[in-house]
């Protein structure tokens, strides 16, 4: 009960709400890192996965990468890049991108590869080039699957950005590591609560976007 009260006191302390290590600044950093990493990973993974799915090549490679990535230890990747590239933003950003790519690659591959052959053939028959077939027919049809892959990658990055704070001065994870170092349990707990709230907000936002997208598709279908 005491710990609970101390954590509430930590949140109530106005000093924790201002400055470069205040809650608004840390939350903004955490969100910025998450979005930057996700956008870079989309640029890398979606075109590559979609093209491989379009040409039905590299299924084994995509499956092997997605499988190995499950066991790839986040913390190991973050620390090894930090040792190579030094303290700063570069190491955690690269490590997070590497972690975000596999699920998007797999989703883009299977989303495009699972578009019915007859649909792709029909697009070619009415005069679409190979690239047009991919961008105008296959990608829109694969969008829900690709969106699902982006969503799971996004949630993974929000969570993992916490671990990245071990090697860089970024995000809400700093409260947890600072608290661990000084055995300040209320600070650790406050940081944990903030990260959990942020992750759950991202989940809710992603689910909401998915619903909105399906709704738009349905209403377009009605008017067409």
């Amino acid at each position: 009960m005491n710990l609970f009260a101390e954590t509430i006191a930590w949140f109530a302390d106005p000093a924790h709400w201002v400055g470069p290590s205040g809650i608004p600044a840390r939350t903004a950093q955490h969100i910025a890192v998450t979005l930057i990493v996700t956008v870079i990973a989309i640029i890398v993974a979606v075109p590559a996965g979609a093209w491989m799915g379009h040409s039905h090549r590299g299924q084994g490679t995509v499956a092997a990468i997605a499988n190995a990535a499950r066991a790839l230890p986040t913390l190991g990747l973050v620390t090894v890049f930090a040792l190579w590239l030094g303290i700063g933003l570069r190491a955690p950003l690269i490590a997070l991108v590497i972690l975000a790519v596999p699920s998007m690659l797999a989703a883009s591959y299977s989303g495009v590869a699972n578009v019915p052959r007859s649909t792709s053939d029909a697009a070619r028959a009415v005069g679409h080039t190979s690239v047009q077939t991919l961008t105008k027919v296959e990608l829109p049809l694969a969008l829900p699957v690709i969106g699902g892959g982006i969503q799971s990658a996004l949630l993974q990055v929000v969570a993992t950005a916490t671990v990245a704070a071990y090697v860089a001065d970024i995000g809400l994870g700093r409260y947890i590591f600072a608290g661990l170092k000084s055995r300040d349990y209320p600070e650790m707990l406050a940081g944990s609560i903030l990260v959990i709230l942020l992750a759950l907000s991202f989940t809710a936002a992603a689910t909401g976007l998915g619903k909105l997208h399906r709704h738009i598709i349905r209403t377009q279908g009605d008017t067409a």
Binding site: L3, A63, N67, A68, R70, A71, L72, P73, T74, L75, G76, L77, V78, T79, V80, A82, L83, W84, L155, V158, A159, T160, T162, V163, Y166, V167, G173, I176, F177, L180, M188, L189, G191, S192, I193, V195, I196, A199, L200, F202, T203
Partner: protein, 218 residues
């Protein structure tokens, strides 16, 4: 390579600690998630509740979960039990869903045929339902095992020994070889456990020979 040969004893200890966390977590996950998923599948409302709860649990980042668990349970922060519990939470969140899907995919005709040929509910479950759901259950367990073994390294951040200790120790002392050893060993452990699970799956389901390829990709 030099670093490895000079620190074999420490690597062995951490490897043993890693297995002592991951293996119980994987076993507990199967023991909890399979009955849970099966019963949730049996009732429509249960299935919705299961999906909602597992979705939320799975969205909770691992490091904060490790810090919150001792407060809820009273376990010491730096104990293997805290780590096993956290890994089991994620494992169950993953496998309970897969289990519900696996049992949902069992054809109703097969169950009716089993009842018609005189199977009581227990025999029907053990001899018809479970074998038909088994390939998906094994595939799901393999996914859980891979992610559990990778995730167990996170405990090193709060001082629970595992192969992850090679990351924190290597980072603090600036020894890249130590961190690299930890990454490679974690992947090797995951691959070995995966191969064992694949073997168990094949040994217990000699009839799925033709389904193997699908199972491997599920």
């Amino acid at each position: 390579m030099n670093w490895i040969s000079q620190n074999l004893a420490q690597i062995g200890t951490l490897l043993a600690a890693h297995l002592a966390i991951s293996i119980p977590a994987i076993l507990l996950t199967v023991l909890i998630a399979v009955p849970l998923g099966r019963f949730a599948q049996a009732s429509g409302r249960g299935r919705g509740a299961l999906l909602a709860v597992t979705g939320i649990l799975y969205a909770i980042p691992s490091l904060p979960l490790l810090i919150v668990i001792p407060i809820i349970t009273g376990l010491p922060l730096r104990s293997a039990a805290t780590m096993i519990l956290a890994l089991t939470v994620y494992g169950v969140a993953l496998l309970a869903r897969t289990t519900a899907d696996a049992f949902a995919a069992v054809p109703a005709e097969s169950l009716e045929a089993a009842t018609a040929t005189g199977h009581n509910p227990t025999a029907r479950f053990l001899r018809v339902e479970l074998p038909l759901a088994a390939p998906v259950l094994v595939a799901g367990t393999r996914v859980v095992a891979m992610s559990t073994i990778g995730l167990a390294t996170i405990g090193a951040l709060i001082g629970i020994p595992s192969l992850g200790t090679l990351f924190t120790d290597g980072f603090q002392r600036g020894i890249a070889a130590e961190v690299a050893t930890g990454i490679v060993l974690t992947l090797v452990v995951a691959l070995v456990v995966d191969a064992i699970l694949l073997g168990i799956g094949r040994a217990t389901q000699p009839w799925t020979r033709t389904l193997r390829r699908e199972g491997a990709f599920a």
